[in-house]
Symmetry: D3
Subunit: 62 residues, 6 copies
């Protein structure tokens, strides 16, 4: 029962549907585990809660 | 200092109290580690951010 | 489809069985979600990879 | 800089290559974020450290 | 490409900037990995979603 | 009771001691939470289990 987690920016409902469908199909095909066994979690993060290279994304986007 | 995380649906305050108390008591008894050392995190996820079997929960509930 | 993760010390197979059974029963009862939907992950950590209060556990145990 | 994590069974090196390549391509296309920005982590779990429906996988496989 | 995650209480924007800058500088210096390769995530938790010693933080603060 | 997790490459025991001490001191100072309340976890990943930009690190290092 594998779990796939995507931690990243805010996404639209359609993007979430595509991520869930594509990740599950891909991972099921490669691992030979039934698609029904996969769980996908989408963790949407605010730009002020992500740092890259020492700088908060909310500041870099300015 | 173990950490228990429950990633799942939205819960009421009373359900959270019970989860925290029960998980901590159970884990402390089984591992012989003092209950005071346990941290429990509850990650509440929106149905549009959870996918099962390739479908977003928000669509399955329809 | 909730996921419970216990991050802590090494455990015996019997302790793992009890953790998985107890956490699942407890969480299913409190949340009214079928036990079959729960996944439990046990992340066993080495004492040199856990720090508490600024000190690595492997050093505190000496 | 999104991070994708797959928590599941042991995989071959070729399966890992395919997972990393496919997840990155898929997520980059759907989110319009450059593929170079994606990190993928593969967390391989032992069957005795995964519980499904209250039972450790190592016992179910018997 | 290491990822540092801080799971804790709500923080101000200035505290987040300092956490991201300090963690990245410290980890880059100790590991000899370029600061540009580090990602920091800040997961802000509500007091009712954190349990310590079997009690929800929201109840302890009362 | 905040938890800091570093997910990255293998480190020496001395590097782990420094990471735990520095992260805890820094986070305690910035958040005004006692150092004794902080837990640090170090998740060491194999190069074949980390992908960057669609390529497994174990292949990039060749």
């Amino acid at each position: 029962m594998p779990v796939i987690t995507l931690k990243g920016p805010r996404l639209s409902k359609e993007q979430k549907r595509e991520i869930v469908r594509s990740f599950t199909e891909t991972a099921s095909r490669i691992t030979n585990i039934a698609a029904s066994a996969f769980i996908v979690y989408i963790d949407e993060m605010e730009p002020e809660n992500i740092g890259v290279g020492g700088t908060v994304l909310a500041d870099r986007d300015k």
